[in-house]
């Protein structure tokens, strides 16, 4: 019994002492050294805008939806590239949701107070819709195939000529007559899959090259100018030291460089 009381006292004292050394002195020491030696990195590798306020971090991807910007990979972090809630889709290879997408019923506040407009919206887009969207955006030919036969794209479009995404997802999920997409050329894997963090700053080089004509057209500049920006070493990192990891194009840095070019 005496031993046990002594061991408890020792345990408590040791816990407190190690807390001071390993959780107080040690992190503060690292903080001091890194602020001194690598203050840019230690503070988040922030990129400043013209007003000296941050426009992003070199390491964190951002959501770009306008056609004149290069688009990053699909993201499961919050509402898209939410750096305060990193994470992947965690959908497995045989998930229907992952391949075909899902819809959900929601209510939006109506014109009258207390009344709601109930409608179906896309819950998770899924690989098929992403492939279709990527083809559409980047002028890649594709076919829609239902029940083994090609179908007219207009079947799934509204009066404005835009796709009805809910109708598409419903048809993708129709077990009796499943709808599927067949692109004329190969789609880069990273373009239609979500990253692990939902904050992947990079896309593959072939993905960037496929997007280049669209970006050039939207910005009314030549494709060669855009491609020259892609190959800029600040934008595209090859394997580190020539061996480690893979090459990738930093989407945020590339888009900021293009904006800077336009501002000139």
């Amino acid at each position: 019994m005496k031993t046990i009381i002594k061991e408890i006292t020792t345990s408590v004292l040791a816990t407190l002492l190690f807390a001071i050394v390993c959780c107080g002195i040690y992190p503060v020491l690292i903080w001091g050294a890194s602020q001194l030696l690598f203050s840019h990195q230690a503070n988040g590798s922030l990129i400043e805008g013209s007003d000296h306020k941050p426009v992003g971090s070199e390491w964190l991807g951002q959501n770009f939806t306008s056609a004149k910007y290069f688009q990053p990979r699909p993201s499961s972090a919050g509402t898209g590239y939410d750096a305060a809630s990193s994470g992947g889709s965690n959908l497995g290879p045989t998930s229907k949701k992952f391949i075909n997408g899902t819809t959900k019923t929601i209510a939006l506040p109506g014109k009258e107070a207390g009344k709601y407009e109930i409608s179906d919206v896309v819950d998770f887009d899924g690989i098929k819709l992403r492939v279709l969207g990527y083809c559409d955006a980047n002028n890649i030919a594709y076919e829609l195939i239902q029940d083994g036969k090609p179908v007219d794209q207009k079947t799934f479009k509204n009066e404005k000529g835009e796709y009805d995404q809910v109708k598409l997802i419903t048809a993708f999920n129709d077990d009796a007559k499943p709808l599927t997409v067949k692109p004329a050329s190969l789609i880069p894997g990273d373009a239609v899959t979500g990253s692990a963090s939902g904050l992947d700053p990079h896309i593959s080089v072939k993905n960037a090259l496929l997007q280049a004509p669209r970006v050039a057209k939207e910005r009314k500049i030549s494709v060669d100018v855009v491609k020259a920006e892609i190959t800029n070493t600040k934008v595209t990192a090859g394997p580190q030291f020539g061996i480690l990891g893979e090459s990738g194009v930093n989407v945020l840095i590339l888009n900021l460089a293009l904006d800077k070019l336009a501002a000139k």
Binding site: S85, S86, K96, I106, D190, S195, S204
Partner: protein, 636 residues
Amino acid sequence: MNTSGWIQLILFVGVLLAITKPLGLYLCKVLDADGKTFLDPVFKPLERLTYKLIGVDAKKEHDWKVYTISMLLFSLVGMLFTYAILRLQAALPFQSLFNPQKLPAVGEHLAFNTAASFTTNTNWQSYSGEGTMSYFSQMVALAIHNFTSAAVGIGIAAALVRGIARHSAKTIGNFWVDLTRVTYYLLLPICIVFAIVLVSQGMIQNFKPFDSATLKDPFTAQEQQKDGSSNPVFTTKQVQKTDEKNNPVTDAQGKPVMVAQSIPVMVDKKVDTQSIVQGPMASQVAIKMLGTNGGGYTNANAAQPFENPTPLSNFLQMLSIFAIPSALTFYLGRMVKNQKHGWAVWAAMFALFFGGVMVAWHYEAAGNPNLAALGVDPADGNMEGKEVRFGIFNSALFATITTDASCGAVNSMHDSFTPIGGLIPMLNIQLGEVVFGGVGAGLYGMLIYVIIAVFIAGLMVGRTPEYLGKKIEPYDMKMASFVILILAFSILGFSAWASVTKMGAPDPITQQLTDGTNNNGPHGFSEILYAYSSCTGNNGSAFAGLTANAPGYDTTLGFATLFGRFAMIVPILALAGSLARKKLVASSAGTFPVSGTLFTCLVVGTVLLVGALTFVPALVLGPVVEHFLMHGGKLF
């Protein structure tokens, strides 16, 4: 499986092999109470002061019982310490410095789960780091265990090795001396250098509140409306009732039966800023990797770009997982005065590691046929849940390493791996994480298999089994078997229980209890099996689709971590005590050699056989059947 991957693999193994001997020799000095190291001028005064303050006589060694009691009490106190800080997170002083995001206190079942998980070197996380834990909780409540649980593990391995090396001895070491020396001479110095290197690569280390960046291309997203007390708002709609099989229900007159269905009320939200995570990350990540803890600072762990910015930071993080476990095999050889035995154990571990990498890499590179059918380039492999800068090879390698060891940090989402690619991490954990393994835990786990292997060899030739001059007797075999059985009992027992009940949180719309899985079909079962494997194995990685933050999961998974740690360590220390007491018997022509190819193959065979007999039936129901269904194009 491209050339660049092969070059990186050879580089990794080469560097690991190169540091094994020097680090192993250093470990011999650290784990000797009188050992002299080049860091004595810095840490000797601190070491002496520590013994004085906590009231320990460093000259005195203890028997296995006292060693065990010290270890258990220290773990219990540490667990209560963490639980208290998490529960009081929002009430502690200096909130503006230590909790600038104003995060609330952690709930009781989550705090229990987290305290158990970090005390046991598991670092299973039912929460998302950046949204749940204040800087103080991360830095103190969690990080203290990153150091101490690693030091405890290494101490236990050293105690077992002493038991093997000594004969006719009563004592196996002093717990407090092992704990202190490992922390000061091994973990802290490496972490200081490692953390600063990580910062140079782009990892953050500061005490600022989150930054807000102005987006160049704002967009609109929908989010659920919140009422005054920040509860989500729902409205209802009359819909026809459906039965369990989703068929519409009608009453006796054939009229549809209507029920009210909850519908979430959404509002448009303009997203024009990105909040950028900040905090003391590098100091924590260094020990998280080196101590094979694995608890991420952020939810996405080592996939989050700050937490693993470059391929070099990735390489060093992988290396730091294996560094100490690999060096411990050298320590074993040196201590038992049979260096060939140490290398034979290393070789057995390497063989299992290499096999795992090959399978995981092959299947991840082969990709998902369901995507190839949609025109997605099959040459890109399975990129779902992987980062571009790491690609297929570094993701498969990291997944294998983190589960070979009991680390559990991830740089890709195991849940989105192909079925067989995801089977490898799960099987690695179920084999007991003996492939280099957790710091200390890997070696003592592997030595249990070694003892079983020499026992089997002894039975085959009809002699009393011997291990390094010690007779292996019924008591020793009982302890070794207990270790194997507790693993199977906890993983399979809890998984079976969770599969037939609903341990998840209630669905926000239907209010009915769920099983918490994110995937249907065999993959959903894999998520549950992985969770209990990971917690029992003290790994902490996950098929993270499982929403485990619910009372049922938090509690059972918390107990799984405690079983997996303490129900194993106690018999191992008992075994150490028993081996230390034994007399040496002279080796003869009939003694089974514990080095060489035959021995290595026997150990690898034992690990695979015991693992296969125990876990193959469960794995067949999960990843194996999913593999065949995936190739048949079946979706769930």
